[in-house]
Amino acid sequence: MAEPQTLPPASQLPANDSPLAETLLLHLEGFEGPLDLLLDLARAQKVDLVRISITALVDQYLAVIDGARRIRLELAADWLVMAAWLTWLKSRLLLPKGTEAAEEGEAAAEVLAARLRDLQAMRAASLWLGARPQLGIELHPRGTPEEFAAIETSGISADLGGLMRAYMAALRRGTKHSAYRPARISMWGVKDALARLAVLVGSLPDWTDLEQFLPESLAGPMERRAAMASTLLAGLEMARAGTLRLRQDGPFAPILLRRHVFSEDQDV
């Protein structure tokens, strides 16, 4: 078995669900993020961080993520984003040297190696600090400051850190009294889209672009795409129920919709 802090090399990773794969997943949850895992994998190469093999590192990371996804599909996005980026990086590193794309890959690999060294240095600093005798734990200051000194009180003792602590404490206490409200999700859902379509479609005489049915107040491109998908789903649902008809004249052409008038043609 691998020791708690290190992961098995990629070649030993399980091919299917197994107790080892579950251990793997537990390992994954012990990491602070993709970079943390990468650093551990890099250290497992037992060479100077300057000389690590980035391609081997990429393979190991992808194998770990793959193993973890087999047991749990909904892996946090940052793990997958890193996996996608590393796949890109590997494809660049495998190109023949000298091409622009290969150089791009090498530059990116250097950036990654530098980030790993940074994190490694900070981890070492944290260990260095942690190993020092700490005040109040190993060493103790005077337990009882003497009150006679408090005679002169020509000012108040408060710093910005204290003010921040006080503010956070006050806000916490204040909100304890109000009911818990989960963060509002700004996505335009299928239910919203159904309601909106039902209202709007009746007023439209002819084929209309699906985009016209999106709500006006969308925060960003992500929300816009989500609303687009929801509206299309709502449209399909209503078409199935017979209230709508949908039309697309070619691949990637705008999707058009209009009210289904029963007296009209019955073509498919």
Binding site: H140, P141, R142, G143, T144, E146, F148, A149, A150, I151, E152, T153, S154, G155, I156, S157, A158, D159, L160, G162, L163, M164, R165, A166, Y167, M168, A169, A170, L171, R172, R173, G174, T175, K176, H177, S178, R181, A183
Partner: protein
């Protein structure tokens, strides 16, 4: 000797010294007995500690049934002259000050609502005495409550050039609680 925890006499004295020094209350003989190895001669340890601090700036004193280090009495007047211990603002005052800083101009009722606790006159007075807050007119609502804001002395005390230099709320809280707040604190007129 069959002592399971051998410490020579000098180390016993050192341990007693450290313990009396670090303790927040006077250390009783019983507490010393528990801390020192079995069979340690507490009286001899205390006598040695007392001898070592005789005529020093800090002396061993017997207070409230225990031992404590105190600064030598003859030095007290000269220390008083120098040590300036600023008053610590009580927690309620710090919280109120922080809320006023971020939400100004703000009424007393609003501060109470944000804190989820009543605001005492003593707290308000403490902040006024320290010259941290000042009235900033009245809100034109029923009862015309006084609105409060921070003073230039507040900025100076916390080393801020401007109210806009207060740390961003989103840098303090991952998910800020739902409290209505302008994007940036508005500097007092």
């Amino acid at each position: 000797m069959s002592d399971p925890d051998p410490l020579d006499f000098n180390d016993q004295v050192r341990l007693a010294e450290a313990l009396v020094f670090a303790s927040t209350t006077p250390v009783s003989d019983r507490a010393l007995t528990l801390a020192l190895p079995n069979g340690a001669d507490i009286e001899a340890v205390i006598a040695e500690l007392r001898a070592r601090t005789t005529n020093r700036g800090v002396v061993l004193a017997q207070i409230a049934g225990g031992w404590q280090f105190r600064t030598a009495e003859d030095l007290a007047p000269r220390l008083k002259r120098v040590i300036k211990v600023p008053r610590r603002l009580p927690r309620a005052a710090m919280e109120t000050l922080a809320i006023i800083a971020y939400h100004q101009p703000v009424t007393r009722a609003e501060v109470e609502e944000i804190r989820g606790a009543a605001l005492s006159q003593a707290t308000l007075d403490a902040l006024l005495d320290a010259n941290m807050i000042t009235p900033q007119g009245r809100r034109e609502t029923p009862g015309r409550p006084t609105m409060w804001g921070t003073t230039p002395a507040f900025l100076a005390h916390f080393g801020l050039a401007d109210l806009r230099d207060l740390p961003r709320r989103e840098d303090l809280l991952v998910e800020p609680p739902p409290v209505p707040l302008p994007e940036e604190p508005i500097p007092p007129a």
